[in-house]
Subunit: 276 residues, 2 copies
């Protein structure tokens, strides 16, 4: 039986590319939002779900973090990192000099701002709901337009690529995670993601929690804070650490942390991504 994997669609987005990298034999099911992907895995309509979690320029994908923190009991089972290569797409046969407006998701427009200013100084930036929606908006447009999207979106929607790698900063990577009912067994090269919060914010508390990892030589790959959604200035902390939650030292540290915080949630342990 073919495995069914939900992903943040539509087809042609970077999340689809990450899903194909993860399992190119699975049946990929596009969903219109990160919340809908999580709901599909929760309801067992899909075995696993693929969503973006972090970009090297923009930082965390807050919708994904907030769902993991507040609204879902799914685990992180895998991670993939893929380079973001924005392309400029037009209607087949159109010339580049005709472009009067450029459609894309606001984030992609922002990542190509200097390219647009340099190459199309007179063009107007127009917001779309995704890079794939931008291609559809561009194809429907009455005036000469272009879209910023993936190369695969050009194939899917029948558009023509007139430029590639147009992002201003070439160190543009996105990390995706696979969400499932259970996390991944121990492999020996693992990461663990978790969050925790405190009832009050006396100065030493976060420091004390970090000490439980530092004294056991457990590397923290990432420390981040998110608003707790109740009052400005109160935070939930997120940590990625090197190791599996079943490693003896990690387990020991997590037990000590749990005793000091008002809330702790381990999102799961999974193999650290390695470019093959």
């Amino acid at each position: 039986m073919v495995k069914q994997i939900a992903y943040l669609g539509p087809a042609g987005t970077y999340t689809e590319a990450a899903s194909l990298l993860y399992d190119h034999e699975a049946e990929l099911m596009p969903f219109p939002s990160i919340a809908a992907v999580v709901a599909a895995v929760d309801s067992k309509a899909a075995i696993e779900g693929v969503v973006p979690i972090e970009n090297s320029l923009e930082g965390s994908v807050t919708d994904t973090l907030d769902l993991l923190i507040h609204d879902s009991n799914l685990s992180i089972r895998h991670e993939m990192v893929i380079p973001i290569e924005h392309c400029l797409l037009v209607k087949p046969g159109r010339l580049a000099r005709d472009v009067a407006s450029i459609y894309s998701h606001p984030q992609a427009l922002g990542q190509c701002r200097r390219y647009i200013e340099r190459t199309f100084p007179g063009a107007q930036a127009v917001a779309s709901l995704s890079t794939s929606a931008a291609v559809e908006d561009m194809l429907r447009s009455q005036s000469p337009a272009a879209a910023i999207a993936t190369s695969r979106a050009a194939d899917i929607y029948g558009a023509e690529i007139i430029d590639r790698g147009i992002q201003d900063n070439l160190a543009n990577y996105t990390r995706f995670v696979v969400l499932a009912q259970h996390d991944h067994p121990h492999t020996g090269r693992d990461k663990t993601s978790l969050c925790f919060a405190f009832n009050d914010d006396s100065p030493g508390k976060l420091y004390s929690v970090m000490g439980h990892f530092a004294t056991r030589n457990i590397n923290l790959a990432k420390v981040e804070s998110r608003p707790n959604k109740e009052s400005l200035g109160r935070y939930i902390f997120l940590i990625d650490l090197d190791g599996h939650r079943e490693d003896a030292l990690v387990q020991e540290a997590l037990n000590r942390v749990e005793a000091e915080v008002s809330m702790m949630k381990v999102f799961g342990s999974y193999p650290r991504y390695q470019d093959s």
Copy 2:
């Protein structure tokens, strides 16, 4: 002479409301991007600039943090916190039941998602570049439409408010900062914002830095990380601490931190916001 203050426009946005709260006698000059506000203050076209820095639901405004970290030597001189109250605007005389599409900035659409699903289940969400641009898009729309924006935008653009406070989570506040050539003198109830980074990421380094504050009983109001924009998994850390950079203990801690990091930048000390 009237003081000139640049702000993230257009008129009718929440940033304009924060600027009026800060100084309602100043001449307010709208600019189309956070980078343009910073440039206006850098070039002395304006004395100060007002930009959003953090929202209680969405988290940090990454454009502002990235400009402070990488591209500007301006200081934070003040902060203001204002409640976000989204309103539903239509063309004068339109009925609510006619609404087929709803325009707004993607963030405002996300903050009112449940309200839209409940009240206008058949309506289509359409992205605009700001809440004020959404009102203009709505007024120009051929089909029956609404826009999510501020109540002031209704006055400015001649639209009619048919619902108020439509955000899903009522604990929705945004913190704004005033950027200037110099930060604020000591007041006795101050905050200091700074960032720092390490050349490598051995486990104990962030812990050691935080120790310099903890041992001096300096409260860290906020700890956050941003990608360093060079490689995924390498971060710049941002801290807000209670106290002024000229307080003896704070100065002592900052000197110790500076000796341990590869980069440190103090964004400034300024009075902690108090609702009057």
